[in-house]
Subunit: 357 residues, 2 copies
C-alpha cells in the first residue's frame, strides 16, 4: 500500500455491504422461531422478550420464577463442517449444547442468541449457519432473539469459523433441580444420543487425519448408508421438549430427582454432577448399545476404552434420575415423545461417583 | 503417531486439567459481581438469576417487564491485545459492547455471560480475560452469571483468541425506547468516548502494520504519557449507570426520546437508528473535540475524513436525544455521574438521516 493511497475499511478486509445483505437474509429464519412473546422493534440494538407478568397463563406457571442462562460452543465440530462444506447443521448443535444444559435445571428455554466469527462474510454460508440455529431453536421451542456475525480475517483462517450460543430459560424456584433430591434406589434412565453430538472432535479429527479416513466414503463398519462425513456431522439431539413434557406431567409428584447432559467428560464426567457426595451412580455398559461410530473410531485410533469413556457420550446423550416407582411410566412417556430410552442402572450409597461396569 | 500407540484427548491438543484449574481461579472473579438475585447451585450446568416476582421492590419497578438481550464481540481488538500481551482489559470492552446496546432500549442490565475461544488454555491468561469481564460487569452493574472457555488449537493460532459476550436486561414495556418518541427540536447530547472503543480495529491494525508504528512508543502527536499500545487498548466506556440514573430520575416525564450506542458505522451509521424516517439529526463536528488518536490514525493512514466518520466514533461513544427543555438538566446530571457531555446538535425535519457538518 503506497503512502498516498487512502486506506479504507473495506481494504482492511471487512465488507459492510455483505453484512447488510446477510442481515436481511437471516431475518426470515429468525422469524420462524418467534412466538407471541417476542416484540419486534425499530433500530435493532437488541432483542425483546415479554415476561407476561400480567397474563394468567404465565402467572399460573410461575410464582417465583428464576432465569437460567447457559453458553456454549460446538468445539472443533466447526472444523469438520467447514471441511465437508456442510454449514446448515452445526447451528442445531450450537442450540443443543446450551438448551440441553438449560433443561437439566428443570428450566424451559425462552430464547437464544448466537455469535458467529468468520474469516470472510459469505452471506450464503452465514445464512446456512443461521438457518441451522433457527432449526435448533424450533426443535427446542425457543425464539432466536438475536445474533452477531463478526468478520475477522486475521483471527480466522479462510473458511474457518467459530460459533457461540447463549440460551435463557425460566424455572419455578421450588422446582429447580440440582441433585440434592436424589435418593438411594433411584433409577437412571439414559436417552440415546444421535451419535458423537458436539464433544471430542479434536480427537475425532486427529484419528481421521492420522488414518487418512475419507469423509465422503461409506465404511461398512459404520453399518449405515451415510458417509463418514454425514455420520460425524449428525446434529446433536435436542432433549428439551420430551423432558419438559415429563416435568409438566408429574408436576406435583416430582418424580425426576436430577438430570445430566452428557458432554465433554462423557457419562462419568457429567452424571456425577447430578449427584450428591454420598451417593454413587452405578451403571452397566451392557444396558445400552454403543453405536458403531464409537467402535469405529476406537478401533481406528487404537483408543483405550477408559479414554473413550472420558471423551465421548458412548451412545447416551442425556440422563434422568427418577423415583423407582415411576421409572416405567417416565420411560414410556419419553418413548412416546420419540426418544429411545435405556434403563442404565441405579443409585447406590457412595461418594458422588459414577461406577461404570 | 504410530498405529500401536493409543491416542488420547490430551495428545490431540486439549488439556482438561488446565481447564479445571482455571474454573476455580475465575470463580472468585465471578463472585465479585454477584448480587442477592444470583442463586448458586451445585453441578454448574447453568447460571441462575431470580426475577423477584414476589418482592415489592421489583414489583414496584416492573408491571409488564420485557427481557432484552444482546450479543457482541470486540472485533480484532483481541489481536492487538494478544500482540501487546495485555489480557485483562478486553473483557471490559466485551461487556461494554453488549450492555451499551442494552441500555439504548431503556433496559437495566441484569446478567452477562462470556464465551472465550483460545488456541491453548493458559489458565493465567484466561483468568486475566475473565477478570476484565468481571470488571466490566461490575462497572455495568450486572452479574457475571456464567461462561465457557473453548480450547480449539486448529481454529485459533497460537496466542490468538476470540470473545463473545451476551447480556440480558429488563425494561418496563411502556418505557422501551426505539426512536418513535423523537420530535423536531429535540436536543442531541453526546457522551465522550474513552477513545477507539471496540470498532475499526482492522483498519487501526492495517495502519499500524503499514506504517511500522511501535505499540511501545509514546508518539508526541498523541499528547499523552501513554504508549500507542495503551491508547489503542483503552477499554470501551460503559454508560449504563449514568444513563439508568437519568432514566430513573425523570421516570414520569420521559425526557429521553431516544438513544444510540456509537459502534461500527460511526455517528452517521448509529445515530440514524435512533430516529424515525421523517426526522434528521443535525450535528456539527465543531461542537466536540476529536481526540488525538483519531487525527493521528487519519494522518498516518491518509484516511479520507468520510471514511473516518464511517468507521470510528470520533470521540462520541453514546448519544441521547432529549426534550429541549430538559437538555441542560440531563447534561448536568450526566456530568455529575462523571461523564463528559457535549451538545452535538438537534433534531430537524428530514428523512431519517444524520447530517454531520
Amino acid at each position: 500500500m503506497s503512502d498516498s493511497k487512502p486506506m479504507t475499511y473495506a481494504q482492511s478486509g471487512v465488507d459492510i455491504e455483505a453484512g447488510d445483505q446477510m442481515v436481511s437474509m437471516i431475518r426470515r429464519h429468525m422469524k420462524r422461531t418467534y412466538g407471541p412473546r417476542v416484540i419486534e422493534k425499530h433500530g435493532g440494538f437488541a432483542g425483546f422478550f415479554r415476561l407476561d407478568y400480567n397474563e394468567k397463563l404465565f402467572k399460573r406457571n410461575y410464582k417465583d420464577p428464576v432465569l437460567v442462562a447457559c453458553t456454549d460452543g460446538v468445539g472443533t465440530k466447526v472444523k469438520l463442517a467447514a471441511q465437508a462444506g456442510i454449514y446448515d447443521t452445526v447451528g442445531i448443535d450450537l442450540v443443543a449444547m446450551s438448551v440441553n444444559d438449560l433443561v437439566v435445571t428443570g428450566a424451559e428455554p425462552l430464547f437464544f442468541l448466537d455469535y458467529l466469527g468468520v474469516n470472510h462474510l459469505n452471506p450464503q454460508q452465514a445464512t446456512d449457519m443461521v438457518k441451522g440455529v433457527a432449526d435448533g431453536c424450533h426443535q427446542a421451542g425457543c425464539a432466536l432473539l438475536g445474533g452477531e456475525t463478526a468478520e475477522m480475517p486475521d483471527v480466522y483462517a479462510p473458511n474457518d469459523f467459530d460459533m457461540a450460543g447463549f440460551a435463557v430459560g425460566v424455572v419455578e424456584r421450588k422446582r429447580m433441580l440440582d441433585g440434592t433430591r436424589v435418593e438411594k434406589g433411584d433409577v437412571i434412565l439414559g436417552l440415546a444420543s444421535s451419535g458423537l453430538h458436539s464433544n471430542g472432535y479434536s480427537l475425532v479429527r486427529a484419528i481421521i487425519d492420522n488414518k487418512g479416513l475419507n469423509l465422503s466414503h461409506c465404511y461398512p463398519e459404520l453399518e449405515s448408508d451415510e458417509t463418514l462425513g454425514q455420520i460425524v456431522l449428525t446434529p446433536t439431539r435436542i432433549y428439551t421438549k420430551p423432558i419438559i413434557s415429563v416435568l409438566r406431567k408429574y408436576r406435583v409428584k416430582q418424580v425426576v430427582s436430577s438430570m445430566a447432559h452428557i458432554t465433554g467428560g462423557g457419562i462419568i464426567g457429567n452424571l456425577n454432577r447430578a449427584l450428591t457426595s454420598d451417593l454413587d451412580a452405578k451403571v452397566a455398559r451392557k444396558n445400552w448399545p454403543v453405536p458403531p461410530i464409537f467402535q469405529f473410531l476406537q478401533g481406528q485410533g487404537n483408543v483405550e476404552p477408559e479414554e473413550m469413556d472420558r471423551v465421548f457420550n458412548m451412545g447416551i446423550g442425556f440422563c434422568l434420575i427418577v423415583r423407582p416407582t415411576f421409572a416405567k411410566s417416565v420411560k414410556k412417556r419419553l418413548e412416546k415423545a420419540g426418544q429411545t430410552v435405556y434403563k442404565m442402572g441405579s443409585i447406590v450409597k457412595g461418594k458422588g461417583r459414577v461406577k461404570l461396569t
